[in-house]
């Protein structure tokens, strides 16, 4: 099982061989409601941790998604263009957003693991 890390802004990143797959959490999709469009970064874009990397448009509003780690975008989930509802249906699987080659893997240390994120969610109640 690959480790998944989470941000306080409800993004997740799963890392394998120096490549992080990034999306939003089940909690985030539940808060946003029906997703109708996702604006993804272009391949080869250099992104920095904490800056806006994508935008999720739900029926209600547009929401920014911040990069949980720094790196170069090497893939984006094209299938979201036709089926943005995958973000609601399978946010940590088919509803992933983009992949980056990490430029500073030590940034992962600053993110929450599954248990810490779940505790964080409970603290929001």
């Amino acid at each position: 099982m690959l480790p998944v890390r989470f941000t306080r802004e409800h993004e997740w990143v799963r890392v394998e061989d120096g490549v992080g797959t990034i999306g939003i959490t089940d909690f985030a999709q539940g808060q946003l409601g029906d997703v109708v469009f996702v604006e993804l970064p272009a391949i080869d874009t250099e992104i920095a941790r904490g800056v806006q990397a994508a935008v999720v448009e739900s029926v209600k509003a547009a929401s920014e998604v911040y990069a949980p780690v720094s790196g170069t975008v090497i893939a984006i989930n094209d299938s979201l263009a036709d089926e943005p509802g995958q973000v609601n249906g399978d946010p940590q699987g088919a509803g992933w957003f983009f992949k980056v080659r990490l430029s500073d893997p030590s940034e992962l240390d600053g993110l929450m693991d599954q248990a810490a994120y779940e505790a964080f969610l409970r603290s929001l109640d």
Binding site: G33, D34, V36, F37, E39, V55, E57, V59, K60, A61, A62, A81
Partner: protein, 367 residues
């Protein structure tokens, strides 16, 4: 730390039922209201296909006792004197500058007039009525609830529970019993579909809602679907598409000003509004269909083909029944014609759009 000093939010008589049904509650116009139950998309599509039930008890219901039609005409653009008993009319409170204080529905009840106004404006409207119509008994009906049953199946659902509703025409109102509950039923709505607004005592609202929700075609819907439905229907939301700075002519609500009122005037701002009816207004509300998939929200700038600023979006978003993004906003008259190409700026990028006829969907009111 972070404590909110705001007044506590009010609850409608259906608050407990909303929670029981799993609603996501949000603050709206001073109330805790359901924004969605199952999801905005499914609620929206269900309203177009079958029927949904909205709680609109936060809206203001008012009654003016006595023969008030003459007096009310001094405040609104509608022909109230010519409104037959049992008929409902959409109208506007205007101010001296021709701006819209609120939009509302008036029902002629015979010995009284019933008004339904926007939740966010009810205090303003009530004070306005009391100030301007001092000789009348005006009541804010805080002990009444209001439900809206909307969708193509609304009539068959209601006729099962209240057979007399079957013969009601669009924009008429009747006192009916639904089950054993005494209601005032109006065949009106804001979804572009057939439907009814049902007023009853607050104490009976939950029983009425449960009765309607027990019908197989009906599901509960929240404010989110209400907003996407009314946007597709091309209807104005006060505070977004109309306010005290927009005139009825700018808003494209000329149809709400009857012929006699155009000839006689006699409402606040009449000179400005009647001049605009004749000469045209400096800006016009239009509908815009976007070419791509990115929604343009309220506040997006509207550019003409040469990139010049010509207006701003007042409502916009993804339209579930259209299957793409739509918007409405105000533009200069020169670019208001259907078919004109425009651009809407979203996150600093111009998106291609076209001025289209409203409503964005086919209306299915039963006339």
């Amino acid at each position: 730390m972070g404590e909110q000093a705001d007044a506590p939010l009010k609850r409608t008589p259906l608050y407990d039922l909303h929670c029981e049904l799993g609603a996501k509650m949000v603050p709206f116009a001073g109330y805790e209201m359901p924004v969605q139950f199952k999801g905005i998309l499914s609620e929206h599509l269900h309203a177009r296909e079958k029927a949904v039930l909205f709680d609109v008890s936060h809206m203001g219901q008012m009654r003016i006792d006595g023969e008030a039609a003459d007096a009310l005409e001094s405040l609104v653009v509608a022909d109230v004197k010519g409104l037959p008993v049992g008929k409902v009319r959409y109208t506007l409170f205007t101010n001296a500058a021709g701006g819209i204080i609120d939009d509302l529905m008036i029902t002629q009840g015979g010995y009284y007039l019933m008004l339904v106004v926007n939740a966010a404006r009810k205090a303003v409207d009530f004070a306005h009525l009391r100030d301007r119509l001092p000789g009348f008994d005006i009541h804010l009906l805080n002990d009444m609830a209001l439900l809206a049953l909307q969708g193509p199946a609304a009539a068959s659902v209601l006729s099962r529970l209240a057979p007399a509703s079957k013969v009601m025409l669009f924009m008429t109102s009747e006192a009916l019993k639904i089950g054993d509950i005494r209601c005032i039923v109006s065949r009106t709505g804001y979804t572009g579909e057939d439907g009814f607004e049902i007023s009853c005592a607050a104490s009976e609202a939950e029983a009425l809602a449960r009765m309607l929700l027990a019908e197989p075609e009906v599901m509960p819907a929240g404010l989110g679907a209400r907003d996407t439905l009314r946007l597709e229907a091309g209807l104005c939301l006060w505070g977004n598409d109309i306010d005290e700075t927009t005139t009825p002519v700018e808003a494209g609500l000329n149809w709400a000003i009857s012929r006699r009122r155009r000839e006689e005037g006699g409402f606040p701002g009449d000179e400005i509004i009647l001049r605009q009816l004749f000469d045209g207004a400096p800006r016009k509300r239009v509908g815009i269909r976007l070419a791509g998939k990115v929604p343009a929200r309220r506040g997006s700038r509207i550019l003409d083909g040469d990139g010049r600023d010509i207006g701003v979006v007042t409502s916009g978003g993804y339209a579930p029944s259209v299957g793409g993004p739509i918007a409405m906003g105000y533009v200069t008259p020169a670019v208001a014609d259907v078919g004109t190409s425009v651009q809407l700026v979203v996150r600093d990028k111009p998106l291609q759009g076209e001025v289209v006829l409203m409503p964005f969907i086919e209306q299915r009111y039963v006339k």
